[in-house]
Amino acid sequence: MADVQMKAEGGVVAPRALPKPFLSPINQRRWRNFKANRRGYWSLWVFLVLFVLSLFAEFIANDKPILASYKGELLFPVLVDYPEEKFGGFLAITDYRDPTISEEIDANGWMVWPPIRYSYRTVNNGIPEAAPAKPSWLYTKEQRCGRYLQGVDDPACTLGNWNWLGTDDQARDVLARVIYGFRISVLFGLVLTAASALIGVSAGAIQGYFGGWTDLLFQRFIEIWSSVPVLYLILIIAAVLPPGFFILLGIMLLFSWVAFVGVVRAEFLRARNFEYVSAARALGVSNRTIIFRHLLPNAMVATLTFLPFILNGSITTLTSLDFLGFGLPPGSPSLGELLRQGQRNLNAPWLGITGFLSLSIMLSLLIFIGEAVRDAFDPRKTFK
């Protein structure tokens, strides 16, 4: 009898006693679920490494040394612009790649170069043939160094001056441009997604929770709003304002928040009549708290399911605008611009292939992470 009763009510396993942990038990569970999705977990690490590295792009790919010592003085060319007269030249900004300057500094001290001695806009005058030049490892040492003053023996003929992925049609290093382009794409995507999620989720929450006239009027407004052709609008605005990072961000934000409204609103409409919401109301919980504590977590799973796609969508939109030439100002490092060059220079397949691979790897990583995040927030999902 006693054991029967236990079984009827059973299922409670002895819990583990824990000292106050860093994460609450719920978040620990979420983290465990996230880790259980191996693909997403590894994608997160790969992406984080790439992202953090790209945040320090100036220290990885730059046409200035990170550190230099000149006549006993320690210089930080990456951080500070020294005029050339410091080294006996006459230009306002020093070109450290210039053989005269580098010889002058080497003779009176030393320089620590980044692993890639090109910035995204550095033009490489030492390429062996007309731009776009092939990746350096496709040339023999003689070809590679042929344009330097002393040929094979020139001190500039080092690994640091290689164009690992070739150059584009303006003789700029592709790898450097990919690193800077990756950074700007991801930052653009993250900022745009975060901002539109903030606006979209709040709008959807208010509509779904209050319903009635609020919902009706807002929905009609959104219908009209979302029928505005965004591309034309960007073309028109680009004619008036100089297109830059923040102007593009602003214009796209005007329209991208709408994507979140539908799903959040539906989730709120469904959940506001749930018994546990009534139960919360019976406890005297205010509307604000009900929205934040009971309804928003419900809507978050739907939002998070969307998030990686919106993030990817933002990145793709920026890329395609760049591809069409309506995006970031000319000369900015951008993956879209790289793709355009690939399209125009079919004889230089390294451009197209690099653009394709860096985009597809970045987008895939983000999708895998998004998938794992969604799993982590799903309370019904169980992993072993």
Binding site: G11, Y276, R380
Partner: protein
């Protein structure tokens, strides 16, 4: 009974694979059903009884489900080994099934005629007119009044009982040899349940059908079954003729089930006790709006002039069929919906207070909802759920003090306090209802509205929850408004009873008087249906 049984389940096992986990849901089960015999499969939720029934027709989600052993012999053929086309001939044709939930078993977009007719056309190849004639005949058989008018009705235009009748008509359409009924009355009112059971028994007699009846309610088993198989944890622990099992149960689990009905009586009521909740002439009318200007043309009278008094330490039971306005009355008293009429709570008038003004009273005025699966937020841990009220009403508490209160209240409702970091889905129905009760109790309320708190639970768990409620009432001198259609539970708890129908009070008085000497036909019908599963003469109750 013929020498070889019509349907024979031999050594059947069902296991579910999820990832690399394998759970054995049904564990080497064997039983026979003879021609014209009714066999009941009894057990609590999770015992594997529905899975057994579904595997007869191979309706489980294969390949996640598999049968490590066993045969299902129907007229000598093994259905488990049959190919899909052969099975389709049997399904709905020779072996038919009716399910628990008449709300979702019918397609909401098709008329009754189309849904019943579809089966006739599919299995019998009947033409439009012949199908229509047969549909009418079937609806007549299952006791739907004016079937001609009902042909064009959509499921939402029918009541739950009528819908279940339509389901039965569909199951009978091809005159099956075996009818599998999976808790066909659990979602229905007691009065309607009695009608449906009577209908099934009648049809079985008339057509000499065999029936496999799945239920957790022993009262029904006693009424309808020839033989009983008691299942728990995927095993049949006892089987035999119904009278024998009830008269002389052998297995501990069977004895536990039989003993599990809500028992006991409420403690003696003190008529002088303080009045906690008093409602006078409570009216909740829902306007019916029509036309372009949405003018109010009429009202649906959800609650129409009801007087209520609940005293400290006592329970007022509100009974009636679904739609009678019980829950609406409770919500109006708790000021969850707007109503007319005076409401006095602990001596103060609260009927005019706004939602914000009500907040200071909320901690003393708690609600426990019917569905323990719906009333707990799936995204909050048990501790967060219980603390929610404390955060609003006891703002001065430190997190440690709050946690201590959660631990105390969980102990009070007999749950392990160490489980407070878990999510609701990790608990069984009974445990969830305990959590819901703990959420109300942690605020030390004076008045608790219990809205069918036991009707979603298994019989034996119901008894435990009733005991818990009675215990809590005694300890904290609580006033309960207990809303239920289950008169057995009401009898175990209520001092006073209100019988409601269509928003009005039909009968009111002390519980003993209502149960021993009911004055109206409606009350008598309710009591007969609840305690003896008997139907009342036509017209007294809804159908």
């Amino acid at each position: 009974m013929s020498d070889s049984p019509l349907l024979s389940i031999r050594d059947l096992s069902v296991s579910f694979t999820q990832g690399s986990d394998e759970t054995l849901a049904v564990d080497h089960v064997s039983f026979d059903i003879g021609r014209g015999e009714t066999v009941a499969l009894v057990g609590e939720s999770g015992s594997g009884k529905s899975v057994t029934a579904l595997s007869v027709l191979k309706l489980l989600p294969y390949p996640a489900a598999s049968h490590p052993s066993g045969q299902v012999l129907y007229k000598g053929d093994d259905l488990l080994a049959s190919a899909e086309p052969a099975l389709r001939k049997v399904r709905g044709n020779e072996i038919a099934m009716i399910f628990q939930e008449p709300m979702t078993s019918l397609n909401p977009l098709h008329t009754i005629e189309r849904q019943v007719g579809e089966i006739l056309k599919l299995h019998r190849g009947l033409g439009e007119n012949a199908a229509r004639r047969r549909t009418l005949e079937l609806l007549n058989q299952v006791g739907i009044r004016d079937p001609e008018k009902r042909l064009d009705a959509f499921p939402h235009q029918l009541s739950g009982g009528q819908r279940q009748r339509v389901m039965i008509a569909m199951a009978l359409a091809n005159e099956p040899d075996v009818l599998i009924a999976d808790e066909p009355t659990t979602a229905l009112d007691v009065t309607v349940q009695a009608q449906i059971l009577e209908l099934l028994a009648e049809l079985r007699r008339a057509k000499s059908m065999s029936m496999l009846f799945i239920t957790h309610d022993l009262g029904i088993v006693r009424k309808i079954a020839d033989r009983v198989c008691v299942m728990t944890n995927g095993k049949i622990v006892e089987s035999g003729p119904t009278e024998e099992i009830f008269a002389n149960p052998q297995h501990a689990y069977t004895r536990h089930l039989i003993a599990a009905e809500p028992k006991g009586r409420p403690p003696k009521a003190d008529p002088e006790a303080e009045t906690i909740m008093q409602g006078k002439e409570i009216k909740v009318w829902f306007p019916i709006k029509k036309g372009l200007l949405r003018r109010t043309v009429d009202h649906v009278k959800g609650v129409d002039g009801v007087d209520v008094t609940v005293r400290a330490g006592q329970t007022l039971g509100v009974v009636g069929e679904s739609g009678s306005g019980k829950t609406t009355l409770g919500l109006a008293l708790a000021r969850m919906i707007s109503s007319e009429g005076q409401i006095r709570f602990t001596g103060r008038e609260i009927d005019r207070l706004s939602f914000r003004q009500m907040r200071p009273y909320r901690h003393a005025l708690q609600i426990v909802f019917q569905d323990p699966y719906g009333s707990l937020s799936p995204r909050m841990s048990v501790a967060e759920i219980i603390q929610e009220g404390l955060r609003i009403h006891e703002t001065g508490l430190s997190p440690e003090e709050r946690d201590a209160m959660v631990v105390d209240v969980l102990k009070e409702v007999d749950l392990d306090p160490e489980t407070r970091f878990r999510y609701p889905h990790e608990f069984s129905g009974g445990q969830r209802q305990r959590i819901a009760i703990a959420r109300a109790m942690v605020l030390k309320p004076r008045f608790v509205m219990l809205d069918e708190p036991t009707s979603a639970l298994d019989m034996s768990v119901q008894a435990q929850v009733v005991d818990l409620l009675r215990d809590l009432q005694k300890r904290h001198n609580l006033a309960y408004l207990f809303i239920s259609h289950d008169l057995k539970v009401v009898r175990a708890l209520a001092n006073e009873v209100i019988v409601m129908r269509a928003g009005k009070v039909v009968e009111t008085g002390p519980a003993e008087q209502i149960f021993e000497a009911p004055q109206t036909d409606y009350t008598r019908a309710l009591i007969a249906a609840a305690f003896n599963i008997e139907t009342a003469p036509g017209g007294v109750v809804s159908e």
